[in-house]
Subunit: 200 residues, 4 copies
DNA sequence: AATGAATGAGGGTTCATTCAT
DNA sequence: AATGAATGAACCCTCATTCAT
């Protein structure tokens, strides 16, 4: 019965993903999740030990991915040499190459982590990520010592960058438009940052 | 008991504002709100007729402000002539004058409206505002007919612009730094937009 | 300040009477009663010691009246000689004289006792009265020994007689139509009883 | 657990029926109902979706019956030819046949509808029925044009007829005595009405 | 593997009553 | 005499979780 088992399990996971994305972890009730998955609340506990573990399952892969990325601190930095390119016009294609290699890894799990994890043990993920991105921005700002007070805006930039990233993933399933938008997104923030620094 | 009355009322309002900001309207429980305000649930209803009315009280002023601004559609457009200025360097001071006249009116009420109103009658406010901003962006993109596919990014930009705006209000009470950040924010989006269009 | 005092007191009594009649003792809230009386909940307790005492005040006169009537057992019996009259046509005028002498005493207090006293210490009044009337009916039925099993219907007759009586008082303020209806009512029950016994 | 399920469900229904009859829909608390049914408030909602649905369940069959009877308007009229019979003595047996065909359908559900539905969606049932009965009485009174002012008493008669009907159902489970009393009841009202009109 | 009955805590709300002012 | 703030119990209802079947 391995086969059927996975069917139910997957049905629950799908239903839960949708519910969590739409109503958040606390807002989505187990009752409604299992109902949409065509099973019962009792049976749910044959597959998952708790609501939290359900969320965990949906999110763990992307969380590990994300943490690895964060600790390696390499792929994230890769496009940085762009900062030294003079012309925004050529950024797009370089970014495009960059984004293709690590973006596919992220999916709705990432969105759940960022937008729907309130009430779970992951609720700090968003903050951690934002903090990391912020430091990243600050690094670059620091290279241009003159804009000290721009740093105040860095946290805002960082949180928006992350939320925008997550919003794109959420709203767009089609990989092509998704990637295009993600590139737009990176581009927008690079241009914005450069402009704020005074590069134009 | 007129004296104590306002104290309690304000304690409830403060406690509620904090709770709503942190946990959203539905996530924040009346019981926890009144507890932090050092009163009882029964007494709460001597001051407010419902949880919704409590939210209403916190939000109504900023909501009216916001609706007025939206319908007049004038102050919001004012800084648009900046788009025709060639040099980003001088934008800052022009924006600065503009922002001073209408920003001071907004406070945490606006943040509640944008970030914490799910489950209240105001829950569409964020969407309305984002839609309005989005149209605004699209207008400017349209002036440069060649970037048709940039429009896909407009909704992202709009929602982030609004969320960033709200985040600044939330994180900064000090009017001076707040205004500075709001100017940064506008600047960042103008630069970003112009850059995306290909102006640089 | 005796004058003003009674004004408030009367306003409360009027408002309460209406509320109790419409929603019953438990269904009517003190809050709504004092609001309609243009005073406050706190002030209410300067005039009455409890909700129950308020009801008490509205009802005590009619209750005593009623109890006296019940124990004397005289006026109630008075029209009984009618039973021996052969022609229903002449009953009406005899009843008319009878009813005039004791009906005026009853008012809304009586209705409250019968229809709105659930939850108060008077909640048995209706039952007591009905029981008394029932015994009355049974007495007359007994005079015609042959209809033994008619007695089963006596409790129904009694409770309906009482409720109808009370309903007339409730629906009709005008003394003239009220008395006419009360006479109709008595007549109806006398005819019905005689008919059931087999007099026609 | 199918076995136990119905036990609990029935226990709740029984307890609720009793509570609603005694204290009305709003007066009866869910807590007291489930307590008497030896279960918990949480569990109640595994059987019924709301207090209203609980009432609904108790009442829906009789409500449909009643509505059908009212719309067909036939069985109700059937005994009318009795009015033209000269001798009350033979009425009883004719009524007896009539009543047997439609009365058995009614039970406590009907009583709940009439006496305990305040606060539910059925709260107008009593009024509707009384109005229908009243019109019925008026019809017959109209055949004897001379008693115009008797019509004032028709609403009283109608409401009492209905309440008496309901009281009999409430007080008597035994079908035999119940039917006998219902016949008595009809008889009583026919005699009363004829007498009032002046037929005797 | 699957069911759904059972639990108990907590949600927003209303109530009669008390009491300081 | 008058106010209305304060209390605590009770209202209907939803929730995640447990457990017997």
């Amino acid at each position: 019965m391995q086969f059927k088992k996975n069917e139910v399990r997957n049905a629950i996971l799908e239903s839960a993903e949708k519910a969590f994305l739409e109503q958040g972890f606390e807002g989505a009730s187990l009752r409604s999740i299992v109902k949409k998955a065509n099973t019962t609340i009792g049976n749910f506990y044959n597959y998952f030990s708790s609501k939290e573990e359900l969320f965990d399952t949906l999110v763990t892969h992307d969380y590990k991915m994300f943490m690895k990325l964060l600790s390696e601190h390499e792929p994230m930095d890769r496009p940085d040499h762009l900062w030294d390119l003079s012309n925004p016009k050529i950024w797009r294609e370089v970014l495009s190459e960059f984004i293709i290699q690590f973006i596919p890894e992220f999916g709705n799990g990432f969105v759940l982590l960022i937008q729907s994890s309130e009430g779970t043990s992951y609720q700090n993920t968003r903050k951690i990520l934002i903090k990391a991105i912020e430091e990243h921005f600050v690094d670059h700002i620091d290279r241009f010592g003159e804009n000290e007070d721009l740093k105040g805006y860095a946290p805002i930039m960082a949180s928006q960058f992350v939320d925008g990233f997550s919003k794109i993933l959420l709203d767009h399933d089609n990989p092509k438009t998704r990637n295009k938008l993600l590139i737009d997104h990176l581009l927008f923030y690079m241009i914005g940052t450069m402009g704020m620094i005074g590069k134009f």
